[in-house]
């Protein structure tokens, strides 16, 4: 069982801890609903040190990553971040990740905790001679500061102005007289930042953020926040046996290039199902693994994630549904352990008032 650098802090704060991705992680501190609300209305900080970071560099790094990742790579400007998949030859997803272009021939990849060791081997195994990969995970602390109130906190802590940062870009900044990397990215949908720095600086940033009013938030709230936004969770909506094209996240897939798995992913005839958002009729939740029935009562799919949505007041779910039953507006029934729940297929995001893409200056004044 692995621990992040902030394990003792979480325990001291009274967090309920649980195993996630091989790490003992905080699920909640003051409560999932309170932390979720703070993320949407104020500021929260997540310990995401368990996630993995790789640096890929060298003469062929662009073409190698163009082959390995489903998203565009060469077209990225230095300073940009892009969400994409590592696919296998069958079109399944090895992991989802965000790639940062650091320089013309240098990239930073941020991957999930549970899959970090396998991802490293996967990427390394597909690089050409002369392309270098370094696993920076152990020495890199990652904290996520999120919420409409996060910009003011971030600006207080960073030496350089942050007001010019566009959504899904990264920049160097200085914190405690040391260079750090910050990006305007996150998993909540709100204005927010991810900071990458040394382990010591990570601890300091956590403490400074709390002192400036950020509420510690755990994986419980992280899950309700991302689900409301329609963001996938690897192992639920994405896995190595599921055709990436069926996830519907077309922005992560460059349909104009050949990449590992593109033979399946770009072949429309291989799409049999579609990931859909389902709005449940009430507060009762559907859960991962529940069967989805079409409006004739026939099994048509499976729930991949489900929860009560704190911001909306009803339950929402994600699930894969056979193409013929997958149209937005279709009625479904979900068979849970105890009863059947009524639902409707809807567009995602479920929550449409998130601040994440808004102008940063409006949150700094």
């Amino acid at each position: 069982m692995k621990k992040t650098i902030l394990y003792d802090t979480h325990v001291a704060l009274g967090a309920k801890m649980s195993l996630f991705g091989g790490y003992e992680m905080p699920i909640q501190y003051s409560g999932i609903l309170a932390e979720h609300k703070a993320a949407r209305e104020a500021a929260v900080i997540f310990d995401t040190c368990h996630m993995g970071e790789f640096r890929v560099s060298g003469a062929n790094s662009v073409s190698d990553l163009e082959t390995i990742l489903s998203c565009p790579v060469a077209a990225l400007k230095t300073g940009q971040c892009r969400y994409g998949f590592l696919c296998n030859e069958k079109g399944g997803v090895v992991d989802d990740q965000i790639v940062y272009r650091m320089a013309e021939k240098e990239f930073f990849m941020v991957v999930n905790a549970a899959t970090e060791p396998a991802d490293f081997e996967w990427v390394r195994g597909h690089l050409s001679a002369g392309t270098r990969i370094e696993n920076l995970s152990a020495q890199t602390a990652k904290l996520d500061l999120q919420g409409p109130g996060s910009a003011k906190i971030m600006q207080k802590l960073m030496a350089e102005p942050i007001d010019g940062m566009k959504y899904y870009t990264w920049a160097k900044n200085r914190y405690k007289n040391t260079d750090v990397l910050i990006s305007r990215t996150g998993y909540t949908g709100e204005i927010g930042f991810e900071i990458y720095c040394s382990n010591d600086l990570g601890r300091a940033f956590w403490n400074d953020s709390l002192n400036l009013g950020a509420l510690p938030a755990g994986l419980g709230a992280r899950d309700t926040l991302r689900l409301e936004m329609g963001y996938p969770l690897y192992g639920h909506e994405l896995d190595d046996c599921t055709n990436a094209a069926e996830s519907g996240f077309t922005r992560a897939i460059d349909a104009g290039k050949k990449f590992i798995g593109s033979g399946v992913v770009l072949d429309q005839t291989q799409k049999r199902r579609l990931l859909v958002g389902i709005q449940l009729l009430g507060r009762r939740s559907a859960r991962h693994g529940d069967t989805i029935l079409d409006n004739n009562g026939k099994p048509a799919g499976t729930v991949t994630s489900g929860s009560f949505s704190p911001s909306l007041g009803y339950a929402v779910a994600f699930g894969y549904v056979a193409l013929p039953a997958s149209a937005v507006g279709n009625q479904v029934r979900i068979r849970t352990d105890r009863q059947e729940l009524a639902g409707t297929i809807v567009e995602v995001p479920f929550y449409t008032k998130a601040t994440g893409r808004m102008a940063l200056k409006d949150f700094l004044s």
Binding site: K16, I27, Q28, G31, I32, L33, A34, G220, T224, G282, R283, R284, S285, S307, F308, P310, A315, T336, D337, R338
Partner: protein
Amino acid sequence: MPTPANLKYSKTHEWVKIEGTNATVGITGHAQEALGDITFVELPKVGADVKKDSACCVIESVKAASDINAPVSGKVSEVNESLETGPESVNSDPYGAGWIFKLSNVNLSDAAGLMDATAYDAFVESE
């Protein structure tokens, strides 16, 4: 949250207040703490007969759903309808405003197997 001395407790973490042949039932402070934020309570039907130690309604938190058992047998006489829109009072006031249902025609001999507050606290410690 202290365990009220005037109530009785089941091994499945329900509390019951017996008054004559009537009873009020809810879940304990320990139970709501373990469940986390309650998001839904499925109330039993008024008029339904419930049996001691049988599941009679369901409580959902963000992370999971859990059965609530009747700690004594009886007939459901009233349910706390405020929980339909405000299930969070089960967390904030599990022994007061967070009561879940009331019973009439209670089988009083069922109460013999229930724990008092001291025994319940010891039971929670030992789990």
